[in-house]
């Protein structure tokens, strides 16, 4: 009876250890990735919307004669609209702690007058290249070595000009 009792207790302890060390970490990782994917999708949607609005806000017909002059306007507009869309402060700080930090790493015009191949695709018209970095506070630290998760968002947006 004593042996049977011991084996039941050891079975329960073993199952609990399996849950704590294997099942819980896996479920937590899945949950964390799901949360990050939702917030990332929200940022991407807000960015596309901000980018579309940026082009609507400038007079492209006049600006196309001087490419460099409108790049600046687009970036200013884009940042302004992105802050409104995501409800961010002037310093890109969030009010409701969805993510830790958002920063724009690159904002450039890929097309410089000639057809240019970038990462396998050819830019034949003015294309704005944006690289953003979102930092999340890691919710589950047991499996990750760092305290934050970093997601890079990259998209190229072709300037809608009818030429």
């Amino acid at each position: 009876m004593n042996n049977k009792g011991n084996s039941s207790i050891s079975a329960i302890i073993l199952m609990m250890l399996i849950m704590l060390l294997i099942i819980l970490p896996i479920v937590s990782m899945v949950f964390e990735n799901y949360y990050i994917s939702i917030i990332t999708r929200e940022v991407v949607d807000a960015s596309y919307s901000a980018m579309t609005s940026s082009f609507d806000n400038i007079n492209i017909g006049i600006s196309t004669r001087n490419r460099l002059s409108y790049s600046f306007d687009i970036e200013e507009n884009f940042l302004e609209f992105l802050k409104i869309n995501l409800n961010l402060s002037k310093d890109f700080e969030t009010s409701n702690q969805r993510f830790k930090e958002l920063e724009i790493i690159e904002f450039t015009n890929l097309y410089l007058g000639e057809a240019d191949e970038i990462n396998g695709s050819v830019a034949r018209r003015d294309t704005i290249h944006i690289l953003m970095r979102i930092k999340f506070e890691s919710m589950f630290l047991m499996l990750s070595s760092s305290e934050e998760r970093i997601v890079n968002i990259h998209f190229d947006y072709e300037v809608p000009i009818d030429n």
């Binding site: 039941s8 819980l24 949607d45 409104i84 409800n87």
Partner: protein, 128 residues
């Protein structure tokens, strides 16, 4: 089958069920947020093309959010008559959702959470 094995089986089953319920209840609020964002985004595109929000779109939008289980819905957007072509306008939507989530002592309690959606647009429809 021995009684000790049955007890062990049930304890393990209860633990697995508990973890499952806790995880599902953590995920549900985010599922709501994802659905809320998807619906709001599709109406934002519509409003942008229509050049403002008319009463039919507002009612349809509100009904979709109500069907999702949202309360205290606020939709703030200029109407079609108010927005000129190329004019800037903002679509703001907020709603309250009520979900049961576990607190830090893993006790389930009802919690109200506010969801917000805000997008800047420029009217693309020539109406006036």
């Amino acid at each position: 089958m021995e009684i000790s094995n049955i007890i062990t089986f049930f304890i393990v089953l209860i633990l697995i069920l508990f973890i499952f319920v806790v995880m599902i209840n953590f995920i549900i609020p985010f599922k709501f947020k994802s659905d809320f964002d998807d619906i709001s985004s599709s109406y934002h595109n519509l409003v942008q093309l229509e050049g403002g929000m008319d009463d039919d779109i507002r009612l349809e939008f509100e009904n979709e959010l109500l069907n999702l289980g949202m309360d205290e819905i606020v939709i703030d957007c200029k109407s079609v008559d108010e927005v000129r072509y190329g004019e800037k306008f903002v679509l703001y939507v907020s709603a309250i959702m009520e979900v049961k989530t576990p607190n830090k002592y893993l006790i389930f309690e009802k919690k109200k959470e506010k969801l917000e959606f805000r997008r800047v647009s420029f009217s693309k429809k020539l109406v006036n």
